[in-house]
Symmetry: C2
Subunit: 281 residues, 2 copies
């Protein structure tokens, strides 16, 4: 009789479910741990939200390359196969994680007089989020943002563009281009990969190591043959002085100013109420 019926009520209440390990009364060998199942069993059923939260945590802690289904399952104290019941695939999981992070972004209610400043602030916030989660842009690459949070996000940005007087066509084009422009800037700002292991995420946050890397690049460019690279060698210092914050501000200034000038010269009716939508004045 393999199990004591008195104390095993939690583990095996049916009593003799007996089978699995063949012989009727041969106890399972000690080296293959069949028991203790009750300890971890019914730990509490992992939920899809818990998986997404753990994935987000793991991504922020160790970066994109550290996220594997096995590793994530370990983090949750379960097996990799269990995750597939909840999220379908790794790509599906990344869909959920992406939409979760997009939900962090706050977009203000449209103010027609300040639409350009509002857009610039949205752009800065988006870049800040991408620096906070260096894996974000890379995850977003092949992904059409159609989660609920992404839709809300798009809705509010488009509302700002329409409130600013941009005609429908230019509003949509401008929105798509704004996102693409921000991503294009941020994607090579977020380095090769991620924090790796020992808080070595120096390429982004630490200004000193960035300074050092810039100096190396400058020295290399300056060392090129002048006859073949007259312009670059003359501009070598400028490569070292490149400040990402300043460059990003320059980019969105160029973009939003240019977009607004295209707006006034657009032939389409500038009245934003042409579509009869209630939320946009």
């Amino acid at each position: 009789m393999p199990n004591n019926p008195a104390d095993s009520s939690a583990a095996d209440p049916s009593g003799l479910s007996g089978l699995s390990d063949r012989g009727p009364d041969i106890p399972p060998p000690p080296w293959q741990r069949a028991p203790d199942r009750s300890a971890r069993r019914r730990r509490e059923p992992i939920s899809r939200d818990a998986i997404v939260a753990a994935a987000l945590d793991l991504l922020d802690r160790e970066g994109l390359t550290a996220l594997s289904m096995r590793r994530l399952a370990d983090e949750l104290g379960t097996g990799a196969a269990s995750l597939y019941w909840h999220v379908g695939s790794k790509d599906g999981l990344l869909d959920l994680v992406f939409d979760e992070v997009i939900g962090e972004g706050k977009v203000p209610d449209p103010d027609p007089d300040r639409w350009q400043d509002q857009l610039k602030q949205v752009a800065r916030d988006q870049r800040a989020a991408s620096l906070r989660h260096p894996w974000l842009v890379r995850v977003s690459i092949g992904r059409i943002p159609m989660g609920p949070n992404a839709l809300r996000y798009s809705e509010r940005i488009l509302a700002i563009l329409r409130a600013g007087g941009l005609p429908p066509h230019l509003a949509v084009q401008g929105y798509l281009l704004l996102i693409a422009t921000i991503n294009g800037f941020t994607i090579d700002e977020t380095g090769v990969d991620d924090s790796a292991d020992p808080a070595a995420n120096t390429s982004l946050t630490d200004p000193e190591s960035r300074q050092r890397a810039a100096a190396v690049a400058r020295d290399y460019i300056a060392s090129l043959p002048v006859a073949q690279f007259p312009t670059m060698t003359a501009l070598a210092d400028e490569f070292a002085l490149a400040d990402p914050d300043e460059r990003f501000d320059l980019l969105i200034d160029i973009f939003i100013d240019g977009l607004s000038r295209h707006a006034v010269s657009s032939p389409a009716g500038p009245s934003p109420t042409s579509a009869g939508q209630p939320g946009v004045p």
Copy 2:
């Protein structure tokens, strides 16, 4: 050529790599074929250029996911381990492939009166190259372009910017932003991945399937609750009409026009000969 990348430093943390199976002097059993080695031996030594060419061919034919070291070695009639003697790593190989493709791009000699048109043409050419090689932008992501062709490419673009009268700082910033902007646009234009297998690369080239995908997106957006998404539902048709060519032209118009206006309002001396470089008038 003394560039053997194998430095043979300790790569086995467990230490005990030597063991597994083989005995000291047991001859190989006849059923495991040691011979016929002479038949394929000295086929002709594969070169680094041949590897790069084969990788480029494989990428263009079947896309980024199809490129693995094993697959590429098969393509060359050799073993995967052989490639590592020539290219060091897959990443090193991608460096070479990337620089090879960058070398395709032709940048005109600077014409001070036409610098904006010249830059726009460079941008269009770069986008065309990224559509011709849909894997290009994805390969370029974590990669600092420092190969010989990339340096020549940068030199010529910077020469155009300087010839246009942009001060040194703005020329470098504008160059970096131009590349980032083009990449940001092209990266989500080149789809999820690649041609996969049966000439199914419909997402980019075939206008009909793109039309159909746009119609699906429009219908989905139009089906959203109007109360929650007043702006998006009103603009649903615009999402279907989005023409990438037109959108790209709009983007570089906005960018180059904005850059040129920043140039004239810049405090730095606009004389392009201030650095004493011979190649730029």
